[in-house]
């Protein structure tokens, strides 16, 4: 009588573990938004696309650089990808921008800031991470009259660390 109950229990445990593995693989398999949604534009004329993956970013974070680069390298270490999609084709730019905004609105990305610089509209979106104050993906959309740029970084990102980069550069200019 004990054996069948052990058997049933083992089967249940197996089922839970298999479900856990499946779901955890799904979440780990998530790619950055450019790869997931804009990969089909990368072959188009008038579109430039750059992708730096985790391996390369890790390598860059360990490259020997000047001391002043320490903040950049620390940040690169936190990243799992950096991708940029840029277009100077008027028609494609409109299309890419519209799709990007629609995608952000449908996938729980939070708009963190939006402003106009001359005729260029710049928006920042973030996808919250599992821990408070962490960001899984940060996306910048920039749209001019005839061009657009989508920049995405993924990883375990602290927005404060990104903000610190520019302030650090500014301070170095004043002090240096």
């Amino acid at each position: 009588m004990i054996l069948p109950s052990i058997n049933n229990m083992a089967q249940q445990i197996c089922s839970y573990i298999i479900l856990f593995i499946c779901f955890s693989n799904l979440s780990f398999g998530q790619q950055d938004m450019i790869h997931e949604y804009f990969n089909h534009y990368t072959q188009e004329d008038g579109v430039s696309h750059i992708y730096l993956g985790k391996d390369l970013l890790q390598l860059m974070s360990r490259m020997k650089q000047a001391e002043a680069e320490e903040e950049f390298q620390k940040l690169m270490e936190q990243l799992t990808s950096l991708s940029i999609l840029s277009s100077d084709s008027s028609q494609l730019s409109d299309q890419i921008y519209r799709e990007a905004v629609s995608m952000m609105n449908h996938h729980n990305y939070q708009l963190i800031q939006q402003y106009l610089e001359g005729d260029i509209k710049i928006s920042y979106y973030r996808l919250p991470g599992s821990k408070a104050r962490k960001t899984k993906e940060l996306v910048m959309l920039s749209k001019g009259q005839n061009n657009c740029l989508v920049l995405s970084i993924t990883g375990n990102i602290k927005l404060e660390d990104i903000g610190r980069l520019a302030r650090g550069m500014y301070l170095k200019k004043i002090v240096g």
Binding site: Q11, D55, M76, L82, D88, Y124, M140, G163, R167
Partner: protein
């Protein structure tokens, strides 16, 4: 029972439509010694059924042996299943763990290599570093509301074009 009844029961029996009561009546009828010639051809079959039904085992311990045997087999079967499940589970966990923790997933590595091959024709890792640096600095300037962000943006666009000479 009348001949007519026997005849109808037998017809139902051979069609597989007889009831338990009809079958019991037929068995009881064919136990008699003097069966009319009309039903003689069916008699051997019913005799055989009666004989098989009456067969008894000579070994009274047979049931116990059989139960013991089946019980032992079930145990072995359950343990075999358990071991198989454990092995399958270990394999799944190993594959899941490897997939999540490995920095060099074959698919990801191939995709990354393809991208790098496609987009970094002449670029070395230092050029990639410069590009990543520019991108991060531009993001940072935007977040900090630095007025030089637009210059940074134009600079980055130019760097991307230089980085991707096949397109321009």
């Amino acid at each position: 029972m009348t001949h007519k009844e026997i005849h109808s029961y037998l017809e139902a029996f051979w069609r597989g439509e007889s009831t338990l009561e009809q079958e019991a009546a037929l068995k009881s009828y064919f136990e008699e010694q003097d069966i009319p010639a009309a039903f003689k051809q069916d008699q051997p079959y019913f005799e055989y059924l009666l004989k098989e039904q009456a067969r008894k085992l000579n070994n009274p311990a047979f049931d116990q042996k059989l139960i013991k045997h089946i019980g032992g087999g079930t145990k072995r079967l359950m343990w075999t299943n358990f071991v198989k499940m454990a092995a399958g589970l270990s394999l799944l966990i190993a594959v899941g763990w490897w997939y999540q923790h490995s920095d060099t997933h074959p698919e990801a590595a191939i995709t990354e290599l393809q991208h790098l091959r496609q987009h970094t024709v002449d670029a070395d890792s230092q050029a990639a570093y410069e590009l990543a640096r520019e991108a991060l600095l531009m993001l940072s300037k935007g977040i900090s509301q630095d007025s030089t962000q637009l210059q940074q943006l134009e600079h980055l666009k130019q760097e991307i074009k230089d980085f991707d000479p096949a397109k321009h």
